[in-house]
Symmetry: C2
Subunit: 384 residues, 2 copies
């Protein structure tokens, strides 16, 4: 197996963008290619993550993007795993480079949804749940995560204020990220006073619908060294699954796919959660970040909320979560999100994260799941 590296990264701003889906992907891809110090022809293939291309009238994105980049002869494909599409796409790129099928590939993810109505977008998103049991019964994602939050409060004594602190912390981080969607300082009172979406979750407990694209160049170490740019190594990667419907889980405040994906990644990397210097985790709702911190092994079961309360997950805490601002503040352009986590991790580990940089960080982890965690991928990166 080849050692797999990330050699360059690029991203559009996340938010309500005017560009088409294709323009966004082409721009982010070109930025990653430039950042890597390579030319499009150096790429062997492209792995594209996207869920709702149909909303911008372009499915079969691969050849369109390859053509816009001037390399129509290169193979490409689109990968979908709901909100976890980006990290699953990264995983396939990783596997193909590790196996030696390609020296270097482009991983690029994107979503364009803000031009549709919120009702339409919410409906589309509900198709990512187990629609027969959930979406069609009216249980869209805010309701499903609210069930998790209510159960967590009952079992572990968490409060709405505790969840609010997660949002406040991620907005503080996002304020330092020039590409974040919601760059706005908020207070616990702002969160508590925002409109109830699905009790106990209020509007400010929820990540926004965002447009955006993020890209990375994934290659073997020989290629990385030859092309001279800064690179980081992928030292572990894992995938996992959970029952698609929340009702079939053994426990709704544990996401089994996160547990199995992270165990596999830690094993491959030969490290424990204690060795991780920071993590980008899937905080689609504030409750999710708390559950993730436990499932990833950063806190014991029921103690994730305490870690958040005590500031342990802040940028200067012992396990900083979402220095980018996370889905909550940076934004959540579905297909881009998992790749965007890789972009942040690459920037953090190569000293390009500016003011939001985690001092002395050498190992970063990305965690991205689909739906209520029915699918998950975790990747671990190390500076060189």
């Amino acid at each position: 197996m080849e050692t797999v590296c990330v050699l360059g990264a690029g991203s559009t701003r996340y938010g309500r963008l005017d560009e088409s889906l294709v323009e966004m992907i082409a721009n982010a891809s070109a930025d990653a290619i430039d950042d890597a110090g390579i030319v499009p022809g150096d790429i062997g293939a492209a792995y594209i993550s996207n869920v709702f291309g149909i909303a911008d009238k372009q499915v079969h994105l691969g050849p369109v993007i390859m053509s816009r980049l001037g390399i129509p002869e290169k193979p490409s494909l689109s990968i979908e795993s709901a909100c976890g599409s980006g990290s699953v796409s990264f995983r396939e790129a990783y596997a193909n480079v590790a196996a030696g099928f390609y020296d270097a590939v482009l991983v690029t993810g994107a979503e364009k949804v803000t031009h549709t109505t919120t009702a339409w977008t919410t409906t589309y998103f509900a198709y990512c749940s187990d629609f027969f049991y959930e979406g069609s019964a009216g249980a869209s994602f805010p309701g499903l995560f609210a069930s998790m939050a209510r159960a967590y409060m009952t079992e572990y004594g968490a409060t709405e204020e505790d969840f609010a602190r997660v949002a406040v912390k991620n907005h503080e981080n996002g304020l330092l990220n020039p590409k974040a969607h919601l760059r706005k300082k908020i207070t616990v009172d702002d969160v508590l006073g925002s409109a109830v979406v699905a009790s106990p979750l209020k509007l400010y407990d929820c990540c926004p619908f965002s447009d955006g694209a993020s890209s990375a160049i994934v290659c073997n170490e020989k290629f990385a060294k030859e092309h001279g740019g800064k690179y980081v190594k992928v030292i572990g990667s894992g995938r996992g699954g959970s029952p698609s419907a929340l009702q079939d889980r053994n426990h709704i405040t544990t996401i089994d796919s996160t547990v199995s994906a992270s165990k596999a990644a830690y094993k491959a990397a030969g490290i424990t959660p204690k060795d991780v210097d920071f993590a980008e985790v899937h905080d689609c709702f504030t409750i999710a970040e708390v559950v993730n911190s436990e499932d990833l092994g950063f806190a014991k079961k029921g103690e994730g909320i305490g870690a958040a309360r005590e500031g342990r997950t802040a940028r200067n805490g012992d396990i900083p979560l979402n220095p980018s601002g996370g889905l909550k503040s940076k934004g959540h352009p579905i297909g881009a999100t998992g790749v965007g986590q890789v972009v942040e991790t690459y920037e953090q580990l190569t000293g390009a994260a500016g003011e939001r940089g985690i001092k002395g960080a050498e190992i970063g982890l990305t965690h991205n799941f689909g739906a209520t965690g029915a699918s998950c991928a975790v990747h671990i990166f190390q500076s060189v």
Copy 2:
């Protein structure tokens, strides 16, 4: 690299089906698992190909299918490359098994569209073209392939009767396939007398919109031997790309992605086109089969139409094309098609194709592309 095999296969009937998308995939998957003589837990992961899950209100199919199969903990993903999704998904499964990431995986593809209106389906399909240049200008697939057909007639002297013979031949084959969508003997006059869709293509030059699902078990040879069932080897696999819009091609009667994908597959297999005993090729329109026969090296440029006219591509010809009936008669459930070609090839090479079996066949090839051939994958199989 591991030797990659196909150990079992299963498929629903293709046509207008009552089952939901999820039911179709679960049924075809369970059939493939049974056929392989394994249990769901033997599978390491699932590769699912689908394009328009949104039409049946279920995206993020992986966890739903894994849950229905009783293995929710197994990782899965969906792959899309327009009409070539199935063969691209097969390629990722192949790569992961070849690299040793999994001993055995499920590849399953499906589409469910016939419950929507034809106008809706045609619109959805047009999103698979380069929509900015093609679909939005009114150039949907029948028109684009009609352009190819007209150019081919002008350059090489083909006639509408010649194209009609391709449809007649594939319907003859499909009549012997109990799972084919259009099991109906037709004549050249039937084709010529059918409604003009986009001149020179008539209704009977076009494949139907179909529902259906097809599945295969892809594994390493050790796994195949240990589980005892009949298996075939994958001896070559290749991918290719072409400019997304037809207008950007050097030549519109040559599909570059087919040429490059097949060259790569032949090279990997160490064979030439002459060694292939039969092929399942992407005949979304009759013109496509003719062009494919040239691009795959079965006939020289401009001579594919002669090969069809002379019966060389019939079941008893020297290079039988589409013994299953092809997309034209067997049907074209988009995400399933490429996997369905693997199912046919597996059945042919293990003596399970019944009346439509190609006598003495040892090497079979599958060819499946997306849109007007902007993406393509070719796989070559050999009996054991």
